[in-house]
């Protein structure tokens, strides 16, 4: 090698050629590059779609997400009113928050540049602080890739035409593995508890089921609901309507929309305790010593029994007066046994009696015992008398033989009686009572037609009841207004004459009402007509002088805080008080009255 290496001098100069080329780097900030698809930059939240369930905050392993109140977002049913705020100084952009967002409102954007001298400015409320993020969304949640499971574990049922052969229970219930799987879908936000009239501890008992602790689940349920098996089978389940898992829908489940099967899970837990003794063993309630106060309850329906159960636990001497020979109210006499079997109910009532609730059966107040006597011998009275009396149809011929009321029919059948309705039945009405009447008639071999004034989608009955009826071969004739019953030679009803109706919106914004089409008279041949257009209470047992003391307005008893009436000694609940007229509202009424009675008599909170 020579002393002077020409290559060593010249070769580096070739680097000068780079001056003529385009640089590999970018001149930031003059030039910006758009981030790639699925880039995980700062968060964006669709504030309207978000329901404030807090799942993002729970999953965040860096504790970077807080749930906060922000101006302009109010809470409502199904929305906590809270929204997430992210500490971007802590965020590690793992995007788990997006993966678990049940509504899909949270996403990460392509925006990744943020410069500030104030580190505390890293606290961001996505959607509020970056409204422009709506156009920059890149890492979005999809139902397919979400860590949430959207479809519910299907419930097994008897098939339609198999059902009408007997009164066997239609819904078959979850197996243990199915229940665990379904329970583990719950994100435990608790949004459901707000719409439950009784505010049951739903996320807690579902988590207990998911963890395999069925006994704990039952104890949690019994904390404020002594009728879990009934609710597990026939509850109107408003909780499921607002479930966080419903917001993105499920294609093959248009009604439940993939809501956690809260009702079926409750049912599963109650089935793990098959007898009253077993319930007592598991729940093992603390029963206070007798406090010497006497409480009388009129009507052994859900509200009366609930009040009775919790009062007995608090040491009150509780007596329930029941006109009929079995307890349960409408859940015993109104709900058909294929939905809520007798032994399910008996088991629960038996358990209540075992902890000290006294029920006097076959004791009709006003006949067998006077209201005044009960009133003067008790420290508090609870009225849970329900809506027993059917409204008459108010149609020409509604008093002729063969025209009966659904509640009377159901009471007869549920009590073990036989009432022959013949082979052609027309049910008038569109509520749950109407459908029950129709499905029971079908089980007795009748061809059943339901005549309803409005459209099918206007029917107040549960969708699953309507669907159940259709599967069982029941014909629904919507937009049909009955006008006349025509008797046959034997004086019994032979034809129902009805007019077809069209739906008209009379006032803007009002719900469309049926208007009869003239000349559209149609006759259907019948053996029995079952009317189910509503019920009312029978207050005849209350002396006139007393009726003024406890305001009764338009058939309802007016109550104040803790379901107390104008007479401080009298509390009331159930269908005669609340407008929702379902079992869970009645239970809630009974529970409130217990709080009121405890407060009034024991002078404590």
């Amino acid at each position: 090698m020579s002393f002077f290496n020409i290559k060593g001098t010249v070769n580096p100069l070739t680097a000068l050629a780079q001056f003529a080329k385009k640089p590999h780097t970018l001149r930031f900030p003059e030039v910006e590059v758009e981030a790639k698809d699925r880039y995980r930059g700062v968060h964006y939240n669709d504030l309207q779609a978000c329901i404030g369930c807090g799942n993002c905050s729970t999953i965040c392993m860096n504790e970077a997400i807080d749930m906060i109140n922000i101006a302009g977002i109010d809470s409502s049913k199904g929305d906590t009113g809270l929204r997430p705020r992210v500490d971007n100084g802590r965020c590690c952009w793992c995007a788990l928050c997006v993966e678990v967002c049940p509504t899909g409102s949270l996403s990460l954007t392509k925006d990744y540049i943020y410069v500030t001298e104030d580190a505390d400015a890293f606290l961001w409320t996505p959607g509020v602080d970056n409204p422009e993020g709506v156009n920059l969304k890149s890492f979005v949640s999809s139902k397919e890739h979400s860590l949430n499971v959207y479809g519910r574990v299907p419930m097994k049922e008897l098939v339609g035409m198999e059902r009408v052969k007997s009164f066997a229970e239609v819904v078959l219930g979850y197996e243990e593995a199915e229940a665990r799987l379904e329970a583990s879908r719950c994100i435990s936000c608790g949004i459901c508890t707000e719409v439950c009239p009784e505010h049951m501890h739903i996320p807690e008992y579902i988590n207990a089921i998911a963890a395999g602790k069925d006994e704990d689940a039952l104890r949690i349920i019994y904390d404020n609901n002594p009728f879990p098996e009934m609710c597990g089978k026939v509850c109107t389940r408003r909780c499921e309507e607002v479930c966080a898992m419903t917001h993105r829908g499920v294609e093959d489940d248009p009604h439940d929309k993939g809501a956690i099967a809260i009702r079926w899970l409750k049912r599963y837990v109650t089935e793990t305790a098959p007898t009253a003794e077993r319930i007592k063993e598991i729940v093992n309630p603390e029963i206070s010593e007798s406090n010497g106060f006497k409480v009388s309850i009129i009507g052994a329906g859900p509200s009366g029994l609930t009040a009775g159960y919790y009062l007995a636990l608090r040491g009150f001497d509780v007596t329930i007066y029941e006109a009929l020979n079995k307890a349960g109210g409408m859940t015993m006499w109104g709900i058909p046994k294929y939905r809520f079997p007798m032994d399910s109910l008996d088991k629960q009532v038996e358990y209540m009696e075992s902890i000290g609730v006294k029920i006097k059966y076959n004791t009709r107040v006003g006949v067998d015992i006077q209201f005044d006597d009960i009133y003067s011998n008790s420290d508090a009275v609870f009225l849970g008398i329900g809506y027993q009396k059917a409204w008459t149809l108010g149609i020409d011929g509604d008093d002729m033989p063969g025209v009966i009321a659904a509640v009377d029919y159901l009471r007869e059948i549920n009590g073990g009686g036989t009432l022959d309705v013949g082979n052609k039945v027309v049910v008038i009405g569109g509520g749950n009572v109407a459908i029950d009447g129709a499905r029971v008639s079908a089980r007795h071999g009748a061809d059943v037609t339901i005549l309803y004034r409005r459209r099918v989608q206007d029917m107040p009955a549960d969708w699953e009841e309507i669907e159940g009826a259709e599967h069982e071969g029941i014909t629904i004739v919507p937009q049909g207004i009955p006008v006349k019953f025509i008797a046959g030679d034997d004086g019994k009803v032979k034809y129902v004459r009805y007019l077809k109706a069209e739906m008209k919106v009379e006032k803007e914004g009002a719900r469309p009402s049926p208007v009869a089409i003239e000349g559209s008279e149609t006759d259907i041949e019948v053996t029995t007509v079952i009317g189910a257009i509503g019920q009312e209470a029978d207050y005849s047992f209350i002396p006139e002088s007393f009726k003024d003391k406890i305001e009764i307005n338009r058939g309802r008893i007016i109550t104040y805080e803790y379901n107390q009436t104008k007479d401080p000694k009298v509390f009331a609940g159930g269908d005669t008080v609340n407008k929702t007229a379902d079992a869970i509202s009645a239970i809630a009424d009974g529970f409130q009255a217990v709080k009121g009675i405890v407060k009034m008599l024991l002078k404590e909170e």
């Binding site: 404030g52 369930c53 807090g54 905050s57 729970t58 965040c60 392993m61 860096n62 504790e63 807080d66 749930m67 906060i68 109140n69 809470s75 906590t80 009113g81 809270l82 705020r85 500490d87 100084g89 802590r90 580190a119 505390d120 890293f122 606290l123 994100i187 435990s188 936000c189 608790g190 949004i191 508890t193 707000e194 505010h199 501890h201 996320p203 807690e204 008992y205 988590n207 207990a208 963890a211 704990d216 104890r219 949690i220 904390d223 404020n224």
Partner: protein, 186 residues
């Protein structure tokens, strides 16, 4: 071709391995810590699986085991063999393979630090990513990341107004949550 490869491996190692064809160009085999070196050597030197694509670990906490996964690839057959080995979670030791592929050394350091698995004869600095780490290895599933974040980092000022979702609802409805059920709350 995948099945042929699997048959060849099973024929050679007999009951020391088991496996299946997972999909097109992908073969999965299960073996033991005592056999894994032989399997990898044989695959590399005889069958031409010359490239160690990936080497990683899964914590099967429910089964009290770790699973080491060695993905090796042949540029000729274009097949990837996923070789899996289970090690006891209580005493996690596996053989060092960095004499077969030098870059396995880096994978092993990472797995040692993140899962706490010892590789017999591995020569490398103890610390790789974590500094002065005194907790349990952080990629183990029983490591509570949220708890660690809570005790290690302070909350930025301005976060005091954070609300608990369940409490917010309870406050609004007047629900009385019994004490014993609170362990099931989120």
């Amino acid at each position: 071709m995948e099945q042929e490869l699997l048959d060849l491996l099973v024929e050679h190692f007999q009951d020391r391995i088991a496996g299946s064809v997972k999909s097109d160009k992908r073969v999965e085999i299960f073996t033991s810590t005592s056999a894994i070196e032989d399997v990898l050597m044989y695959a590399k030197n005889v069958l031409g699986y010359i490239h160690l694509v990936h080497f990683s670990c899964v914590d099967w906490i429910e089964e009290n085991e770790f699973e080491l996964m060695y993905a090796i690839f042949s540029p000729k057959s274009k097949i990837t063999i996923m070789s899996k080995v289970r090690v006891d979670r209580e005493n996690p030791v596996a053989p060092n393979i960095d004499y077969i592929w030098r870059h396995a050394n880096t994978f092993e350091r990472e797995i040692r630090e993140m899962f706490g698995i010892e590789f017999t004869g591995l020569i490398a600095e103890k610390e790789m990513i974590l500094e002065d780490w005194i907790e349990m290895p952080p990629m183990r599933r029983d490591f509570d990341t949220a708890e660690y974040a809570k005790k290690t980092f302070f909350d930025r000022p301005g976060r005091e107004d954070a609300q608990d979702v369940r409490e917010t609802i309870i406050k609004r409805t007047g629900e009385e949550l019994p004490e014993f059920s609170k362990k099931y709350s989120r």
